[in-house]
Amino acid sequence: MTDFLSLQRSIPLTKSIAIRKTWRRSLQMVGTTEFAVAKHSDYTGAKIGMWLFLFTELLLFGGMFVLYSVYRYKYAHDFHIAAYELNQLMGAINTVILLTSSLTMALSIAALQRANRKLSNIFLIITIVLGVLFLVNKYFEWSAKIEHGIYPNSPLLARSFNNGETLFFGLYYAMTGLHGLHVVIGIGILTFMLYFINRQPTTQFAIEPAQVDELRGSQLKIEDRQGRKLWDGATIGNSVRRISITFKHYATDETFDRTNITKLENSGLYWHLVDIIWIFLFPLFYLIT
């Protein structure tokens, strides 16, 4: 009597594990159950999902770029004048910061792909720090503007700027603000990844009470595929109600998990998206004067 239970559960190990439980009733072998632990992680599926999501992000900003183009066309001269108010040096510094952070992001992924977790961690931390630096810079830039009385609905804008300039600054705050929000979310994701790629995940299987009854008096053993004994467990007594088997994956650099890399790659894609949006914002607001 053999039944196969297939457990759809991603096991962060490169090889699958087979647990064979053998039970005896009146000293006679009755049956073997094999838990075939199927490794379920669809690399391509995860990538498709992420790219589709990035596509929606592009369209989200796309709506604002449409607004920008329409008003730039309608108020070309005003946009030209208003752009002089922005600090090109600050913008340039922030561009360098973000571009560098994209580089360190890519290096962090490359390090993890080569199973060098320590190096990956270092680059990831540098990426996060650069992201924070970008925001600090942005903070000073915005507060300087606000101090000069240039912000949406400000009395100064209404009094001494004309419509095109007002719209320029309205769009400037909306677009860089939304971009800044994406940087904040990106930093959050990368911080989570920092925890994620370093944690020791566990996998747990539970045997339901109904099945435990069937197993009473039997002994729990773990063998590998070749039948080599890995572990001999205790006999299941009458007091046992529920059994669960837990694996702790102390991932070494060699057995590092592929699904972690997928997650880091997807986070990297998001970070590059945030970067590329800035690549368009910088010339549109700071450079075209």
Partner: protein, 543 residues
């Protein structure tokens, strides 16, 4: 992680009985099982549908006679706004894809779950958060929003009512819709069972696939537009405010770039379930499988290019008017292809008039009226005459309620036995359908007539010559409500003490009828090998 262990026994345990990590309500609201999430959506949507219907019922009651009847004008404005927001964003956009799509998408392609189960649960949580925000916006702030569900600028950025919160609710709901779309498309691409080629998929899958693409492509645009309305109200950035040089027509463009494709998000899944039900109850294979499949994609494509027909009188250029009018006529072609194929499927079939079939036939009839009145509006000169009249209201409800709504209730009757393992009173279901069909036409047909005569939409009061039409319409609303309540009573009763449903009560050939009722946790005892067409009824027995 305890629920990951599937225990194989001789009698498959259904997903309703499966014990996971939690019990009670928690086992539902934290479940990543696509079937449980589908049912969560179903119940939350039906609740929102009843709220939206109540607003509609009260509005119709107000319009039974000229002058004030039961509510104040301002209340009336809030009612039609909230009726629109709730019915569009909380009921009809998620209705078929989120409830039945979630439940049957993986089963029909032979998968164990969707590609991203946790993301799926997040979608539902976002939906519930959006619903809570929408309801909260009713009772908080100065007054409920009174802009209409379109939130047209500049009124929406000026009015003192609670627009920001309602708009934010719509934004959150849009996010939920996007995640569902991403999930469905990835699932259909990656998780089809062995042998399930693209042209072996049930047509419902093609409809969901096309819908998923519209959700992904169109929803972000309305997302940013709604955010900008909030920015306008909070900070006054000026992009839609004419006093600061902004352009309100741009708002309309950005709004309809999403909201016109959104009507295809609403109708395509409805067409998908009709394509499932017609062959089953005609006992004939579907006529023109590939045409129906590709017409879904064609509708998604052309439907994304016609938004300007909402703005023929808003002041966009005449060239744009002509182009959008032409494209509007083009989008009718794939819709007509579907209708002709359904009718051709019925031809020489042995038709069984079970309640799902009655709803399907009603769909074809009502959707045809809705579609043809839509074509009339696509013509530029006619559009000027009937713009912003109750003709539009009639047309829209013929498509959305007569189409999607009837498809939704048809799907509910079709799949109810599979989802819950219980069978309802079939005779009562047909009677309820009769009430709905008669009530629907009595309610909306007069609106087409008085709209043509010049009755404006969204008006609180009207001239005496429109009285008869409004009176008939209001009486129709009572018949319709009776039908809906009968449906809910019948299904509710079946849930509690309905007789046990068999594995395949209608004799369907798609995969959901090949698994036990209700389906087990991972849908199938073992992943099926697909080697037959979805509408090949040879050897399929009713059981």
């Amino acid at each position: 992680m305890a629920h990951d262990a599937a225990i194989a026994t001789t009698h498959p345990v259904s997903f309703l009985e499966e014990r996971g990590r939690f019990t009670g309500i928690l086992s539902w609201i934290f479940s990543t099982d696509h079937k449980r999430i589908g049912i969560l959506y179903l119940f939350s949507m039906l609740a929102m549908f009843l709220v939206g219907a109540t607003f509609a019922f009260l509005m119709r009651l107000e319009l039974i006679a000229p002058g004030k009847t039961i509510i104040e004008p301002q209340t009336y404005n809030s009612f039609f706004t909230l009726h629109g927001v709730i019915m569009i964003f909380l009921f009809i956009i998620p209705s078929i894809p989120a409830a039945f799509g979630n439940f049957f998408l993986p089963i029909q392609i032979g998968a164990k779950d969707v590609a991203f189960p946790r993301l799926n649960l997040l979608s539902w949580w976002l939906y519930i958060s959006g619903a809570a925000l929408a309801i909260y916006s009713l009772v908080s702030g100065a007054a409920p929003a009174d802009t209409g569900w379109t939130f047209y600028a500049p009124y929406s950025i000026r009015t003192g009512t609670n627009v920001s919160l309602t708009v934010f609710a719509a934004f959150v709901l849009g996010f939920s819709s996007i995640l569902t779309g991403v999930n469905f498309i990835t699932t259909i691409h990656r998780m089809r069972a062995p042998g399930m080629g693209w042209f072996k998929m049930p047509l419902f899958q093609w409809a969901l696939y096309a819908t998923g693409w519209i959700q992904i492509i169109a929803t972000p645009i309305v997302g940013i537009t709604l955010l900008l309305v909030i920015f306008e109200r909070a900070f006054g950035i000026g992009v839609f405010d004419p006093t600061k040089g902004g352009d309100p027509i741009l708002y309309q463009h950005l709004f309809w770039i999403y909201s016109h494709p959104a009507v295809y998000i609403m109708i395509l899944p409805g067409m998908g379930v009709i394509s499932e039900m017609i062959p089953v109850f005609a006992r004939r294979t579907i006529f023109g499988y590939k045409f129906i499949a590709f017409s879904s994609l064609a509708i998604a494509f052309f439907g994304s290019l016609v938004w300007g027909h909402h703005m023929f009188v808003s002041g966009q250029s005449y060239t744009a008017d002509v182009v959008f009018s032409l494209l509007t006529f083009l989008v009718a072609i794939p819709s007509a292809i579907k209708v002709f194929n359904w009718v051709a499927t019925l031809y020489k079939g042995s038709i069984e008039l079970e309640s799902p079939m009655l709803f399907s036939l009603a769909f074809i009839f009502l959707f045809s009226i809705g579609g043809l009145t839509g074509l009339m509006q696509g013509a530029l000169a006619v559009n000027v005459h009937i713009h912003d009249t109750s003709f539009i209201v009639g047309h829209f409800h013929y498509v959305m309620f007569g189409g999607t709504g009837f498809a939704f209730f048809g799907a509910l009757h079709y799949w109810f036995p599979k989802m819950f393992g219980k069978m309802y009173n079939r005779k009562l279901a047909k009677i309820a359908w009769g009430f709905m069909f008669v009530g629907f036409n009595t309610l909306y047909f007069p609106l087409l007539v008085i709209g043509w005569m010049g009755m404006p939409r969204r008006y609180y009061d009207y001239l005496p010559q429109f009285h008869t039409g409004h009176l008939i319409s209001t009486i129709g609303s009572w018949i319709l409500i009776t039908g809906i309540l009968l449906v809910l009573y019948n299904l509710g009763r079946a849930l509690i003490k309905g007789e046990k449903a068999g594995q395949n009560p209608w004799g369907g050939a798609t995969l959901e009828w090949q698994t036990s009722t209700p389906p087990p946790l991972e849908n199938f005892e073992k992943i099926p090998e697909v080697n037959r067409d979805p509408y090949d009824f040879r050897g399929i027995a009713v059981q």
